[in-house]
């Protein structure tokens, strides 16, 4: 069972009770006997209590609180579930409030109100890094009880040691954390968060020691900050996704201390809030002149290829692409690699075989929808709806571009056919608006139907979640973006919140179609080849952090716009694709910055 914490048991005591009807008349039924354990698991120390009767299944625990607004995750396992799983239980609304509260875990009112006979609902465990304080009982009560308070101010139900064992527990915990009596309340033991043994994994976050980081910062504050910021970003993303138990759940105070030491201009909000709003501002100074290199030329591209056509030093090549983009002549071939259609280590021969079989496969799938008769289609409403919408949308995609303009343009027909074939390739996903925008530049570059299709397939693989029914990927990205924005420019973030726009809905289109409509067609080529996740991964950048570096320039534009024309008198926030990418000035203004509550 997933919920059971495995690891080295360092404390194990039966007869630790929860009184489930606190404050009421106590009867026997309200005492839930359980086992308290402390376990070492990797770098973490877990405190775990579960009722004796608990069956080996924690799924009911999660289910029991699904409809409670205050709880996202009751039980945490060292192997973190991806956040998507528990979000799926949410309504199809964009309930960002819920999504943001991902970090909370605990006892909710909802749980307390549950009938006591379902005892497994009371089980909990937490990592010692999360422990803020322990409150003890008054002396002379006959038995001991402890109340654990976690760093996000979650208070767990009191554990009553009817069969002793409380002293042993404290002794055990003191091996890992320093406990000291609170000055205000002698019954409360505070966990000293400066504890070194627990901060080790935080340092794993940074590949280099603090000293060299500081040196770098002095030399080039902007770059050092951005590089380390990207790590913080990754850290936050990891935390959000909970992918890495080692970096997961660091005390915010530790993060704050470390970063203040490392980056002088950093301002930290000492007031701890739920979630991750610890660093309130990061001042990166003025944006330095970035030296862009020339686009990668055909000969340069080929120089990375051996005699059989395998690519070597791909990392370096990707860095070059990141810094200067590609010459248009190289794009047709290079995009097949960048979009993961062709493997980098394949030979020319392997690629031509692959291409041949993929082309066959494409036309086989194309034939499938082509051979559907009108009568058949009448009985297949989903296919009919897809076809209908695709027909409408390809006629409304890049029609000012020469490749797609005018009546009976073959480019438009190809867009249509590839999207229809994609429905056959992934019928569950089918066609979703936005796909035509993603396909259009690819088809333009490939000038080949089957190649464009397979590149599109790979591209869609990257962002499948964004288009699925619940649009989980989009929700996640907006939450992440908002976290990053708070870090980079909390003032602007607060401003947006004051205008009921804190959920950043206006970024929806930017993210869904990767800025396709915010830049000119030409600039989008460059942007997409420089910022595919594969490239960012190599460079240790987070995609969102990278795109946000565009956004920071944008912030000023947006702010200015709202300050100078607060009335928005018939302002037409159209989306002019602007000229050069090097300015990276997103000129498009959000034209939907209001959230539901803004209704007035």
């Amino acid at each position: 069972m997933e919920g059971i914490v495995t690891g080295k048991v360092v404390y194990d005591h039966e007869g630790v009770f929860i009184h489930s009807s606190c404050g009421k008349m106590e009867d026997q039924d309200s005492l839930i006997p359980g086992i308290l354990r402390v376990l070492e698991k990797d770098v973490e120390v877990i405190v775990d209590w579960r009722p004796l009767e608990e069956t080996l299944d924690s799924s009911n625990i999660l289910c029991a609180v699904q409809d409670s607004n205050s709880v996202v995750e009751w039980n945490q396992t060292p192997k973190e579930r991806p956040i998507t799983e528990h979000q799926n239980s949410y309504e199809a609304e964009w309930d960002m409030v819920n999504t943001v509260s991902f970090k909370k875990k605990y006892f909710s009112k909802g749980g307390v109100q549950n009938p006591v006979n379902n005892q497994s609902q009371w089980s909990f465990f937490f990592s010692l890094t999360e422990l803020k304080s322990i409150k003890q009982n008054k002396e002379g009560m006959g038995w001991s009880y402890f109340v654990f308070c976690l760093k996000d101010d979650v208070i767990l139900p009191a554990l009553h040691f009817h069969h002793g064992g409380s002293e042993l527990l404290l002794e055990c915990l003191e091996k890992y954390v320093v406990l000291c009596e609170s000055k205000q309340d002698s019954r409360t033991l505070l966990v000293d968060s400066q504890n070194r043994s627990l901060s080790q994994s935080f340092e794993n976050l940074h590949e280099e020691p603090t000293d060299s980081l500081l040196q770098k910062f002095r030399r080039d504050p902007y770059a050092a900050t951005m590089i380390n910021f990207s790590k913080v970003t990754n850290f936050l993303v990891d935390t959000i996704r909970g992918t890495d138990p080692a970096t997961h759940r660091r005390p915010p105070q530790e993060m704050a201390d470390f970063l203040v030491d490392a980056i002088p201009d950093l301002k930290i909000n000492q007031q701890e809030e739920s979630g991750f709003e610890v660093i309130t501002r990061i001042d990166v100074g003025t944006r330095p002149e970035v030296q862009r290199r020339d686009p990668v030329s055909t000969s340069e591209w080929e120089s990375y290829m051996d005699s059989e056509g395998r690519f070597h030093n791909v990392h370096h090549l990707k860095t070059m692409i990141f810094k200067g983009g590609l010459c248009h002549a190289v794009r047709k071939e290079a995009w097949k690699f960048l979009l993961n259609y062709f493997p980098w280590n394949s030979t020319k021969e392997e690629r031509s075989l692959l291409q041949k079989s993929k082309t066959d496969e494409y036309f086989r799938m194309k034939l499938q929808w082509k051979s559907v008769s009108e009568e058949q289609e009448n009985r297949n409403s989903r296919l009919r709806d897809y076809r209908c919408l695709i027909e409408k949308d390809v006629n409304r995609t890049d029609r000012t571009n020469r490749f797609y303009e005018g009546d009976d343009n073959p480019g438009v027909v190809l867009l249509h056919d590839i999207l229809m074939t994609y429905c056959m390739y992934d019928f569950d996903l089918g066609y979703v608006q936005g796909m035509s925008d993603l396909l259009s530049p690819i088809l333009y570059v490939m000038e080949n139907e089957a190649d464009a299709f397979w590149c599109f397939v790979s591209y869609m693989d990257q962002m499948h979640e964004n288009f699925e029914e619940q649009m989980q990927g989009m929700k996640m990205q907006l939450v992440q973006l908002s976290t990053l924005l708070r870090l980079l420019d909390s003032g602007f973030c607060s401003y947006l919140e004051s205008k009921d726009s804190g959920y950043l809905y206006f970024c929806f289109r930017w993210l869904l179609i990767r800025f396709k409509r915010e830049f000119s067609f030409h600039d989008i080529h460059q942007m997409w080849e420089e910022l595919p996740p594969a490239v960012c991964e190599v460079l240790g950048l987070d995609y969102n952090a990278a795109s946000l570096s565009y956004d920071t320039t944008e912030d000023c534009t947006v702010k200015k716009h709202y300050q100078t024309s607060p009335s928005q008198n018939s302002t037409v926030p159209v989306h002019p694709a602007n000229g050069t990418r090097s300015n990276s000035n997103l000129k498009a203004l959000p034209n939907s910055v209001h959230t539901p509550s803004s209704a007035c």
């Binding site: 919408l389 037409v572 034209n591």
Partner: protein, 201 residues
């Protein structure tokens, strides 16, 4: 209300491709773009106008029509003053879907009194000669579904577009007037002396 401009939130709903964005752009900017992109997400434009001596700022919300975008679209329904249900006269499916759009709106907008909520129905693209939905059919639907006003519009040649939006404003103002009156009639006159009554506490 005199001299003061009130903000009305109007939302355009209907299937993809019926011309919601084109209607909005025609009304606000008086332009028609045959090469317009389909809407992704939600957008809005403001338009100031004067109707029956009321100056009003109409905030027109334009939504993406595809089912998949429902979760993005629906949070914006709340607080709407009027809903423009839009179909295309050359697309009978879009007409049949009006029911669903109305239901979706009422459900998510959390309308207190759906019976009296102002809907205006727009049959767009009347410039196209082949109609799949007749005027009678559309009028019958409007009659049977709460006596909604019906406008046959063309964003392309500007037919009836202003008329439809202005009717939306009138409907909202009419309802506000009525509720103003209600409030007025229900007012308890605090200055009137209550009848002497013996109190028991």
């Amino acid at each position: 209300m005199a001299g003061k401009s009130s903000l009305l939130k109007v939302i355009l709903l209907g299937d993809g491709g019926v011309g919601k964005s084109s209607l909005m752009n025609r009304y606000v900017t008086n332009k028609f773009d045959t090469q317009l992109f389909h809407t992704i997400g939600v957008e809005f434009l403001n338009k100031e106008l004067e109707v029956d001596n009321h100056s009003v700022t109409m905030q027109i919300w334009d939504t993406a029509g595809q089912e998949r975008f429902r979760s993005l679209r629906t949070p914006f329904y709340r607080g709407s003053d009027c809903c423009l249900l839009t179909f295309s006269v050359d697309d009978s499916q879009s007409f049949q879907n009006l029911n669903n759009w109305k239901k979706e709106f009422i459900y998510y907008a959390d309308v207190k009194d759906p019976e009296h909520f102002p809907f205006v129905v727009l049959g767009n693209k009347v410039d196209i000669s082949e109609h799949q939905v007749s005027t009678e059919e559309a009028e019958a639907w409007c009659r049977d579904n709460g006596n909604h006003p019906y406008f046959e519009t063309s964003a392309k040649d500007s037919t009836n577009v202003s008329a439809a939006f202005e009717e939306a404003v009138r409907r909202v103002l009419a309802i506000e007037d009525r509720s103003d009156q209600l409030i007025h009639n229900d007012t308890v006159n605090l200055h009137r002396k209550p009848k002497a009554s013996s109190s028991c506490c």
